[in-house]
């Protein structure tokens, strides 16, 4: 479903050129649950923005469902984000002045969907995340876990091909984190393609396939590499590094 072919993205930060994503190639099939793991600065957020059609690439090719979106206009990108992608952010990114239900309705409003169908679909989405009793609450009347569930409802209400979750548990306590990860797992079980972006190995372990990113390149992909061997190698390097620092 997603084909990234040798994509690059560079930023210029204070005169220095930063290769946020460096000739990266990655293919994600329909109905996969993939975690992209990396430390901060590894380029995982840039990758997520590119896959989510929020950012453009400098070089390479990005095919979403077989369509080359490098040539897409602003308008087509907006439509793509609206219909094909559901975002779940670390900061929840709900509109504070709207109720949970109104937040979930928003993507459908931009589709131009009529009132009755829109309400029906939004309530369905909220039922699915278990928040039907809170749908007339505003974000500031909800706990962090509940806000993130509203965000997930907003992401799935358009029935998108891909759910993109960027550190969805980054601002949550461990119990809420567990609930959110279970919810993402359920969505995967129900047939969705889920892309989880995180720096945390435990969070990533929820996913079937794990891809590790360092300096904008893939250093490990559990689909092709032996992850256990990789982790052991990495642990050894880490240990050596720490010992070197002690001396």
């Amino acid at each position: 479903m997603i084909e990234l072919k040798k994509i690059s993205k560079t930023y210029i930060l204070g005169g220095d050129t930063v290769h946020a994503v460096d000739e990266l190639t990655l293919t994600i099939e329909e109905h996969e649950f993939v975690a992209i793991i990396g430390a901060s600065g590894s380029g995982k957020s840039t990758l997520m923005n590119i896959i989510g059609c929020l950012d453009t690439i400098d070089e390479g090719q990005y095919l979403l469902r077989g369509q080359d979106i490098s040539s897409y206009t602003d308008r087509q990108m907006s439509t793509l984000r609206n219909r094909e992608i559901g975002f779940v952010f670390q900061q929840f990114n709900l509109l504070q002045k709207l109720t949970a239900l109104e937040n979930v309705e928003l993507p459908l409003i931009y589709q131009g969907m009529g009132l009755s169908q829109r309400k029906k679909r939004s309530v369905e989405a909220l039922v699915r995340v278990g928040l039907e009793s809170r749908m007339h609450h505003r974000p500031n009347q909800l706990s962090g876990g509940q806000q993130q569930r509203v965000a997930i409802a907003r992401a799935i209400v358009t029935r998108p091909a891909l759910i993109l979750a960027d550190e969805p548990t980054g601002n949550l306590d461990s119990r809420s984190s567990k609930e959110i990860l279970e919810l993402l797992h359920e969505l995967y079980e129900a047939g969705n393609t889920v892309l989880l972006i995180t720096h945390d190995i435990h969070t990533a372990s929820e996913a079937k396939r794990r891809v590790r990113l360092v300096d904008g390149r893939i250093v490990m992909d559990s689909k092709y590499d032996d992850e256990a061997a990789y982790l052991a190698e990495e642990e050894r390097a880490e240990k050596m590094h720490r010992e070197a620092m002690k001396i």
């Binding site: 950012d55 907006s78 439509t79 984000r81 509109l95 002045k97 409003i109 358009t158």
Partner: protein, 394 residues
């Protein structure tokens, strides 16, 4: 996105910041209020003065002789001028004043010695009895047509045809009563007494006619008639040699005065309206300013909306409608306040003031335009934000 949704979003944004929205609106309210008020007052004053001037007659040339050395202008001279060179009837007048008395009651009267032509030329309406007739002049009768105030002062009512009163040392019989016009303006006839010009000439010892009104056939022959009168008066009156400006007579033309007045007032209302619209523009800048602040404050909101699929046009329309709603609502409030204040001023100033449809349409159209002009830049700025930058904004 549907327009109704965009309007809903804009209004919820306006209502979520009521004080700020109101203060922004205030600029437009004051602007529209001052435009409607000033233009309304000027228009009301113009209407009132125009109506008074028109009451004095439109197609009429009013001649008065100012030269003390005037030679005799006789009734025959004027009769000869009638009905040619674009002129219609000519109504000569001998003016005077005296007290009308009956049984110890006194009323100040402005006396006009006239011929029967005056009724047509000056448009005089008699409600009881008749006006001065040709036979009254031929026989120098002591008959009078009196104004309503005089009738009331002397007799307490206006049903006085056949009664008599004393004036200029003679007894006059009332043959008619004028229609009451109820005003105190200079054109009021309520204190006038019309008597035959031949009677007036003898009693007031005036043999030369020093003022007369000439009707023209139509408004198109006013200039032609004026030339004819100038030729006639020039032959009768010698201009004082040392001052060529003073011809010894004046000819007033109501039409000229009216159109000059109209153009002055038109310029005046344009000028005042123009000055007032500067405050509208200032109000518009206020809208632009607050919309720019709002776009910055809501950068993250814009980012979220774009991330979940809002188009460039969706954001543009949302913010544009917000600006236009503020300006149109302000315009409406200003207009209603203007209409209300004009009503209040009407009763205070004794003028017929009202908000005309054209002025209200102009004020509303102007506030709409202000909203669009000053809203488009902030709205476009919002719509052009990149979702990725907007989402990162703290």
């Amino acid at each position: 996105m549907k327009l109704t949704q965009a309007v809903k979003m804009a209004f919820s944004a306006i209502l979520s910041n009521k004080m700020r929205s109101f203060l922004t609106m205030l600029g437009i309210i004051i602007g529209v209020l001052s435009v409607t008020l000033l233009v309304g007052i000027v228009q009301g004053a113009t209407d009132s003065v125009t109506a008074q001037l028109q009451g004095l007659g439109g197609n009429k040339l009013m001649v008065s002789i100012t030269s003390p050395k005037a030679t005799y202008i006789t009734l025959e001279d004027l009769t000869n001028l009638q009905n040619k060179d674009g002129l219609g009837l000519i109504a000569p007048t001998i003016q005077g004043a005296d007290k009308a008395k009956v049984d110890g009651k006194i009323s100040a009267a402005s006396i006009s010695g006239v011929t029967d032509a005056a009724q047509i030329v000056d448009g005089i309406t008699v409600v009881n009895g008749r006006f001065i007739q040709q036979s009254d002049n031929q026989n120098r009768l002591n008959v009078a047509v009196v104004g309503a105030k005089i009738a009331k002062d002397l007799f307490g009512h206006t049903d006085v045809v056949g009664s008599s009163f004393t004036m200029l040392g003679r007894s006059f019989e009332i043959v008619g009563v004028l229609k009451e016009d109820g005003t105190t303006s200079m054109s009021s006839q309520d204190s006038t007494v019309y008597i035959p010009i031949s009677t007036a000439s003898r009693l007031m010892n005036q043999t030369s006619i020093r003022s007369f009104n000439a009707a023209t056939i139509s408004s198109g022959t006013v200039d032609q008639g004026k030339t004819a009168l100038e030729n006639f008066l020039g032959s009768k009156i010698k201009a004082s040699s040392d001052n060529s400006e003073d011809k010894g007579y004046t000819i007033f033309n109501m039409g000229d005065i009216l159109s000059a007045f109209d153009s002055i007032m038109g310029t005046m209302s344009l000028l005042l309206g123009g000055i007032a619209s500067i405050s509208l523009i200032v109000g518009g800048i206020g809208i632009m300013n607050i919309m720019l602040v709002s776009v910055t404050e809501r950068t993250r909101e814009i980012g979220i909306r774009k991330a979940i699929g809002a188009q460039h046009s969706d954001i543009l329309i949302q913010f544009l409608i917000e600006a236009v709603s503020i300006s149109i609502t302000g315009g409406l409030i200003g207009m209603l306040m203007g209409a209300g204040l004009l009503q209040v001023l009407s009763s205070i100033m004794d003028l017929q003031l009202h908000l005309s449809v054209s002025v209200s349409a102009l004020a509303l159209g102007f506030s709409l335009a202000i909203g669009v002009i000053f809203g488009i830049y902030p709205a476009n700025k919002a719509a052009k934000l990149k979702p990725i930058d907007a989402l990162r904004y703290e």
